[in-house]
């Protein structure tokens, strides 16, 4: 993607808008096609890495009462006797047919194991993501608007705090302070067990459980992003059209939020897109600290159980999601800045 110099079609008559749409569609199609070899490569790499973990599933589920023949049967039932390339092709062709295999640990189909866990992760990921963006917009705008004043210093200090705090540490400390010591919030899980609530109270109970993991996951990214937004906002505020706006008497708040923020957000989109992988990783850690029954926790458990099919599917799914989110970021980038050209 390249930034185009001011061209004649910048304002875009109807015809040229059509041209942009076609270009965008071609660009998206090409990016999707590029993603396919990338995914194949990732899956091969992951497959090899996971099978290279010392102590395969047969060793993990080994039972002292099992004789050699029984162990061989166990291996055979896991499909571990074929050479690795054959195993990969079997797995990949099953995958393409929509068959993700069965979990070695529980015997359930991987699709149903993941289907149980997936919504929880999406909920945590999206809520933290949205919270993070909101806070970033507020904090970044405030500290740019009050550059060099007390508000700016306070926000900068908070940002340094957030950037320097490892997610798991913040999670543990908050868990111990707000749940164990103060008893304000539930320590872990998604719902209080052993009670039946009315639907409204059940929702409230669930949100109380969501609050801490969501905030913990959002803090690190908010801190980093608000610094970026502050810098780009300060750049925008110094530009001529802002002075014009002020001279015309646009109210300061409206000027900042409607005119400046929209342009200041553009460079941030790239940073946010780069961080998607990190948020997914951070979600895994947050889930593990707060016993949030999502994919991240499933991943760590499955890694310890050498549950190959679950691990592979979870990794591939996360890679697909990161790629999709990156594509969305690209599209958003062009919506926000019509000067972007697809090439």
């Amino acid at each position: 993607m390249k930034r185009r110099e001011e061209g004649p079609d910048r304002e875009g008559s109807g015809l040229l808008c059509m041209g942009r749409l076609v270009l965008m569609r071609q660009y998206l199609l090409r990016r999707l096609l590029q993603a396919i070899p990338l995914l194949i490569l990732t899956s091969i790499l992951m497959f090899l890495l996971i099978h290279a973990i010392p102590g395969g599933p047969d060793a993990i589920y080994d039972n002292p009462n099992l004789d050699a023949a029984g162990r061989a049967a166990l291996r055979a039932s896991f499909g571990l006797n074929d050479p690795l390339p054959i195993q990969y092709f079997k797995w990949a062709s099953n995958m393409l047919h929509g068959n993700f295999g069965n979990s070695l640990y529980t015997g359930q189909p991987v699709s149903s194991v993941l289907a149980q866990r997936f919504p929880a992760t999406v909920e945590l990921f999206l809520s933290a993501f949205i919270l993070s963006l909101l806070l970033t917009a507020i904090l970044g705008t405030l500290s740019a608007a009050y550059q060099g004043k007390a508000v700016d210093y306070t926000i900068t200090t908070l940002a340094y705090f957030g950037i320097s705090m490892p997610i798991f540490l913040l999670g543990l400390v908050m868990q111990n302070v707000f749940a164990s010591s103060l008893n304000w919030l539930p320590p872990s899980g998604t719902a209080t067990l052993g009670y039946t609530f009315s639907p409204f109270n059940a929702l409230l109970d669930h949100l109380m459980h969501l609050l801490m993991p969501m905030v913990v996951l959002a803090v690190t990214f908010t801190a980093g992003w608000s610094r970026y937004l502050r810098t780009s906002m300060i750049d925008v505020i110094r530009q001529d059209y802002m002075r014009t706006g002020r001279a015309k008497g646009v109210p300061p708040a409206r000027l900042l939020l409607r005119h400046a923020l929209r342009n200041a957000v553009i460079p941030l989109i790239t940073i946010v897109a780069i961080d998607f992988g990190a948020i997914a990783g951070g979600a895994a850690i947050t889930e593990s600290v707060f016993a949030w029954p999502g994919m991240g926790q499933l991943f760590i458990d499955s890694l310890n159980r050498r549950d190959y099919p679950v691990l592979l599917t979870a990794l591939l799914l996360s890679a697909i999601f990161v790629i999709i989110f990156n594509l969305l970021a690209d599209v958003l980038y062009s919506v926000m800045d019509p000067r972007i050209r697809y090439s």
Binding site: L38, L41, T42, M46, L49, I50, A52, I53, P54, Y160, F161, I163, S164, M165, P166, I167, F168, L169, L172, V173, N176, S180, I274, F276, G277, A278, A280, G281, G282, A284, I285, S288, G296, F299, I300, L303, L311, L315, S318, A319, V322, I323, N326
Partner: protein
């Protein structure tokens, strides 16, 4: 650091103009001195640098202090002994000396963070330099590789890799972290090279027949030293976090060797009895990472050529 020295000394070789009065000559400072002065004017960054220095000294020489030499010895005193004059941090659930463990754990954490930073910066410089200097298909391949690594959830990948390759020794953890730390440095160096290779001094060097490697690492690289040093400082902080995450989940340096991450993991179960078992290593990690970030940002301001010299 060598690279930056070269860049500065080459600029100092200019002859001092004759009209420079002795009074002005006396006030003349070397570029290193200017940068140092500018950095020292930033109080917060200086405090961060001093804290890091203090921490490194503590971790290096602290475990030699009599009475704190046995970090792994169980039952030195009663478990959960509170802080006393002899034992300011008390003991943990097994009666191990927490101060000694914090210092030895700091050694591991700092060792892992610094060495993996060095490896990934060298990797990043080489990859970024070749991509930026040659461009074309090489650039394409190297940058796609960088993008790919940036899109995979790093923690998940590290967990798999450490389960596969790491055997719990610090060296294996160093390499594990280094393999994925080079991406940002590579992008940065590539960007600098793309901009710098169009400059006149590069053309001048080309005219006198400088070979590619000499051009890349002798002429261009020193001019990109500033951003690289800043990136390296910030990388130390993020490596300390990575190491602690790995150790916390049991994928890092194997117990009973102390590292700040594994100390947190052991302390979390005893928060009610002795919150300091979690808080001491936690605060150490936090302060170290904070100092690295502050020093990094201070260096960025001090090294920025756009800043007017006062």
């Amino acid at each position: 650091m060598d690279a930056s020295k070269q860049a500065h000394s080459s600029q100092e070789d200019f002859e001092i103009p004759a009209e420079l009065t002795p009074a002005l000559q006396a006030r003349r400072r070397s570029q290193k001195r200017i940068i140092f002065d500018r950095f020292m004017r930033n109080k917060v960054a200086t405090a961060g640098a001093l804290f890091l220095l203090f921490l490194i000294l503590c971790c290096l020489f602290g475990p030699l202090i009599p009475g704190h030499t046995t970090p792994d010895a169980v039952g030195v005193t009663a478990p959960f002994a509170g802080s006393s004059l002899a034992d300011p941090f008390g003991t943990d659930n097994l009666g191990r000396d927490t101060l000694a463990r914090a210092m030895v754990g700091g050694r591991i954490s700092l060792l892992v963070a610094l060495s993996s930073m060095l490896i990934s910066i060298v990797l990043g410089i080489i990859i970024g330099a070749f991509a930026g200097y040659y461009g074309g298909w090489l650039d394409n391949i190297l940058m796609r590789l960088t993008d790919t690594i940036l899109t995979i959830p790093l923690y998940l990948l590290l967990f798999v890799l450490s389960a596969t390759f790491a055997n719990g020794t610090p060296i294996s953890v160093i390499f594990l972290i280094a393999i994925f730390g080079w991406t940002k440095a590579a992008r940065l160096v590539r960007g600098e090279f793309l901009a710098l290779k169009e400059r006149e001094f590069v053309q001048a060097a080309a005219t006198i027949g400088a070979r590619d490697l000499r051009m890349m690492f002798y002429h261009i690289l020193p001019n990109a030293a500033g951003p690289i040093i800043v990136n390296a400082t910030l990388l130390i902080g993020s490596n300390i976090i990575l190491e602690s995450v790995l150790s916390f989940f049991g994928f890092g340096v194997s117990i009973p060797v102390a590292s700040w991450g594994s100390m947190i993991n052991q302390g979390r179960d005893y928060f009610d009895a002795a919150p300091r078992l979690l808080l001491i290593p936690g605060i150490l990690i936090f302060l170290t990472v904070l100092s690295c970030n502050l020093v990094g940002d201070g260096l960025r301001d001090a090294l920025d050529p756009q800043m007017t010299e006062r």
